[in-house]
C-alpha cells in the first residue's frame, strides 16, 4: 500500500499536535498542578507516536514514545512537573518538529538524537538543568529544526468534520477574490450603462445582481478567514524562551484568539508582531530585580488583545515594563540625524514615540542578539501601512508601552471614500478616515507658523492634498473646501480636496513600477465608468 499519499496530512496533523504540545507546556509552567494539561500532553505524544508508527517513521515513533513514557510517569504522580522537565520536553518537541520538516522536504535519512533519547529515558526529578547542555547542542545541529519562532506551515488546516469540508489551495482562494473583485467592477460599469439607457428594464436585475455579488463577496472572504490564533500559536513559547534566556519573569496572555482575519493579512502581520513582542521582552521588560526596586511586582506581564470592530481589527500589544523615554528618543533621533533639534522641539507626543519607526532607529543602547536581528520597527510600520492599516504607540515611563495595530479585516476589496483632487480621483480606505468636514476659507488660519483649522475641541494641521501629491495647483476656488480628516493615535490632520465624490466599493490592485515606488500610493482601482483611481496610504500625511 502506498503510504506517501498520507504524508501531507501526517505533516500538518503532526504540527498541530506539536504546537498544542508546546502551548500546554507553557500552561503547565504557570500551574504545574493542571492535571487536564498533563493528560492532554500525554494524548498528543501518544497520537503522534501512533501516526508516525503507521507511516513507519521510526525516529519520530521512538522519540515520541520516550516522551509519552515520561509523561505517563508525571500522570501517575511518580514525579511532579518541573521547569527542568519542561525544558527537556520542549527539546523533544523541537526535535520532533525538525524531523517532521525533514519528512515534508523529502529527506529520507532521519536523525538519531541519542543524547536526547537518553536524557528522556533516564530523567529523574532531582536532575538540574546542567545535564541538558549536550542535548541542546544536538538539537541545534539538526539543520532542519525550525527555531521556536519559525513560520507555521501555510498548509495547516482547520480541524473540521471531514465530510463537510474540503481542503482548498490558497491560490484558488486568491483567484476567487480576484474574480469577485472584477465582477464588482463590472457591476459598476453595468450600472453606469443602465443609467444611460433608462427604461430598458435593467434596474431590477441589476439590484438582484448587486445583492448576489454582495453575498458572493462575503462568502469568498469568509472562506479566507482564519482565527488570530493561527498566527499567535507560537507566541507563548517565543515569549517564554526569550524571557528565560534573559532571566526575566513574564506572564503572557492572548485575549481574542478566536477573532478572524483574512489569511493574507495574518500572514503579513505575523513577523511584525513577533518583532514587537521581542522588543517588549528585550527592551520593554525590566529584570525582576529592577522591577522590585521600582516598587513593581516581581513578574511582568505582556498581553495581546485582539478586538473586532465593524470593518477593522485592533491588535494591541501591551506590556507593564519600563516604558519609553521621549527625551531620550529625541536625543537619539538627533544624534542619528533622523531629525534636527528644531524639528524635535515641534514633535507631538505621538510623533515622538513614532521615532522608533524611523529607518535605522533603535531604542536599545546596544543591539542585543535578541531583537537586533529580523525586521526593525520601520519594517513593522511599513508592513502595517502596506495592508492599509495604522500603527499607534503609547508609552508611559515606568508604566509600560502599548502598540496598537489597526488593520482592515480583508484586503483587496475595500470601501473607499473617493475624492476629486486636481483632475484625479483619489480613494481613501473608509477605515482610515475619521470624518469629512467642509471648511470655509475663514475656518483655516495660521497658528505657530502652521496652517490649522478648528476640529472638535482642538486645532489640527491642514494640508493641501494637491501639494502633498506633488501638484502645485491651488486648492479649489469655491468658498467652501471639503476636507478629509485622518487620525492616527492622538494625531489628526485635515486634507483639503477639490470635491468629495462619495463612497464606493473598489477592487484594489497593486501598482506596477514606477508608481509602486510612490510612498503615498498603496494601490490602484478602476471605477464603473472606467476611471482609474489611486488609493492613498493616508498615514504618510499624518
Amino acid at each position: 500500500m502506498d503510504m506517501s499519499q498520507y504524508r501531507d496530512l501526517f505533516v500538518s496533523e503532526s504540527r498541530g499536535h506539536l504546537s498544542a504540545f508546546n502551548e500546554l507546556i507553557v500552561r503547565l509552567e504557570e500551574n504545574a498542578a493542571d492535571r487536564e494539561a498533563i493528560d492532554e500532553l500525554f494524548r498528543h505524544a501518544h497520537s503522534l507516536k501512533g501516526m508516525a508508527a503507521t507511516m513507519q517513521f521510526d525516529a519520530i515513533t521512538g522519540l515520541a514514545h520516550r516522551m509519552e513514557d515520561l509523561l505517563s510517569k508525571v500522570r501517575s504522580d511518580e514525579f511532579p512537573f518541573s521547569p527542568v522537565l519542561a525544558d527537556l520536553l520542549l527539546e523533544g518537541s523541537d526535535m520532533l518538529a525538525g524531523m517532521v520538516s525533514m519528512i515534508e522536504n523529502g529527506v529520507v535519512q532521519q536523525p538519531h538524537p541519542a543524547a536526547l533519547l537518553e536524557a528522556l529515558s533516564s530523567f529523574t526529578p532531582d536532575q538540574t538543568g546542567g545535564a541538558d547542555r549536550k542535548v541542546t547542542q544536538e538539537t541545534n545541529t539538526l539543520s532542519e529544526t525550525p527555531p521556536a519562532d519559525a513560520t507555521p506551515a501555510p498548509s495547516q488546516f482547520r480541524k473540521t468534520d471531514t465530510f463537510k469540508s474540503v481542503r482548498v489551495k490558497t491560490d484558488t482562494l486568491d483567484r476567487l477574490v480576484t474574480i469577485t473583485g472584477e465582477l464588482i467592477t463590472t457591476r459598476y460599469r453595468l450600472t453606469d450603462q443602465a443609467r444611460r439607457h433608462a427604461g430598458a428594464g435593467l434596474e431590477e436585475p441589476l439590484r438582484q445582481l448587486s445583492s448576489l455579488l454582495r453575498e458572493l463577496r462575503d462568502e469568498v472572504f469568509q472562506a479566507r478567514m482564519l482565527p488570530f490564533v493561527f498566527a499567535a500559536e507560537r507566541f507563548p513559547r517565543l515569549v517564554r524562551d526569550l524571557a528565560r534566556k534573559q532571566g526575566k519573569e513574564i506572564s503572557f496572555q492572548i485575549v481574542g484568539k478566536e477573532i478572524e482575519l483574512d489569511r493574507g493579512i495574518l500572514e503579513e502581520i505575523t513577523e511584525p508582531l513577533v518583532h514587537i513582542l521581542r522588543n517588549a521582552v528585550d527592551h520593554g521588560m525590566e529584570t525582576p530585580d529592577d522591577r522590585v526596586a521600582a516598587g513593581k511586582p516581581f513578574g511582568g506581564s505582556i498581553t495581546i488583545t485582539v478586538t473586532r470592530d465593524k470593518d477593522h481589527v485592533d491588535i494591541v500589544i501591551a506590556d507593564d515594563g519600563r516604558g519609553m523615554n521621549p527625551v531620550r528618543l529625541k536625543e537619539m533621533a538627533i544624534e542619528k540625524g533622523v531629525i534636527t533639534p528644531e524639528q524635535a522641539d515641534r514633535l507631538s507626543a505621538q510623533a515622538t514615540l513614532m521615532l522608533v519607526c524611523a529607518p535605522g532607529f533603535s531604542t536599545a543602547d546596544q543591539v542585543s542578539d535578541i531583537s537586533g536581528r529580523g525586521v526593525g520597527m520601520d519594517a513593522v510600520k511599513t508592513a502595517v501601512h502596506a495592508l492599509g492599516g495604522t500603527l499607534a504607540i503609547e508609552s508611559e515611563i515606568g508604566r509600560g508601552s502599548r502598540f496598537t495595530l489597526r488593520l482592515p479585516i480583508t484586503v483587496s476589496i475595500i470601501h473607499a471614500l473617493l475624492v476629486d483632487c486636481c483632475n484625479m480621483t483619489i480613494a481613501f480606505p473608509v477605515s482610515a478616515v475619521s470624518r469629512t468636514i467642509e471648511l470655509k476659507r475663514s475656518d483655516i488660519f495660521e497658528e505657530n507658523g502652521r496652517t490649522v483649522c478648528a476640529y472638535e475641541d482642538r486645532t489640527i494641521p491642514v494640508k493641501s492634498l494637491n501639494r502633498l501629491l506633488g501638484r502645485a495647483m491651488p486648492q479649489g476656488s469655491g468658498t467652501v473646501v471639503p476636507a478629509v480628516v485622518v487620525e492616527i493615535g492622538d494625531t489628526a490632520v485635515g486634507l483639503l480636496t477639490d470635491r468629495l465624490l462619495g463612497q464606493q466599493e473598489i477592487f484594489v490592485k497593486p501598482l506596477g513600477a514606477p508608481l509602486s515606488g510612490m510612498k503615498a500610493l498603496s494601490g490602484g482601482a478602476i471605477t464603473g465608468d472606467g476611471r482609474i483611481v489611486f488609493v492613498v496610504d493616508a498615514s504618510v500625511f499624518v
Binding site: M1, Y6, L9, S47, G50, M51, T61, D161, T162
Partner: protein, 120 residues
Amino acid sequence: MSATVMIVDDSLFMRNIIRGFMRDRGYSVVAEAGSGIETLKKLHEITPDIIFLDIILPDINGLELLESILKRCPLAKVVVCSSLGEETVLKKALGNGAKAFLHKPFTPEKVYEVLDSMEA
C-alpha cells in the same frame, strides 16, 4: 451488500488511513467521528455493521463510550484500536463486548486479518 463501517478516531490522518484500507477492500465507510460525543450523535442516525474505535479520545473515556455504543447498536462489531502498552484497557474492552482489537501501527494486513476473523 458490503458491510458498513464507522471510524472513530480524533486523528483525521488515522481516519483517512483506515478509510483507505476499507475502500481497497470494498467496504463502505458510512460515518466518521473525531470525538465520543460526535460518535453518539451520529449513531442516532445510522447503524453501522463495524465500528473502529480508538480507545483514547479527547472527551469520553473509551470504555464508557464502548458501553454507550453497544447500548445504541447492540449488533455492531466494535474493533478497539490502541497503541501497544494499553493491554489492560484492551482486555477490559474485549470483556465488555468489543469483538476484536487492533494495535497501532496499522498495516493493511493486520486490519484485513481482523475483519476476516470477524466474518468467520
